[in-house]
Symmetry: C2
Subunit: 71 residues, 2 copies
């Protein structure tokens, strides 16, 4: 996989025009945790990824496929 | 999401004609853990899903999207 989860998460969040605080609120996660995910300090569980994708209104698998450099 | 991760994992494994033992060997995970994932007793991390998908030779996001009932 070419891109890290943290990189694609940050990109997807910015595409939606959300701050880390806003995404944290929408996904019911802590802002610090969002920040750690984006810096690849933490690795997410599937449940976490689902929460984030619901908050970003994108399909979970579509976000994951971005890690493989797919359109 | 309509299908559990355990259900789509079991389906994908069977499509490839692999036993739980074979998938465990190919993905460097324990057979007991594969069994727990398939019964939705355990929830996987992204890293685990990636290992399994590499072993099954399918794209990680494509497997995840099956949970949402996509083709």
């Amino acid at each position: 996989m070419k891109k890290s989860f943290g990189k694609i998460l940050a990109d997807a969040r910015k595409e939606k025009g959300l701050s880390q605080e806003q995404l944290a609120f929408e996904s019911n996660l802590h802002r610090t945790y969002i920040s750690q995910l984006e810096r690849d300090i933490k690795s997410p569980s599937l449940e976490t990824i689902k929460k984030i994708c619901q908050a970003l209104n994108i399909k979970t698998g579509d976000l994951i496929n971005r890690m493989e450099g797919e359109p």
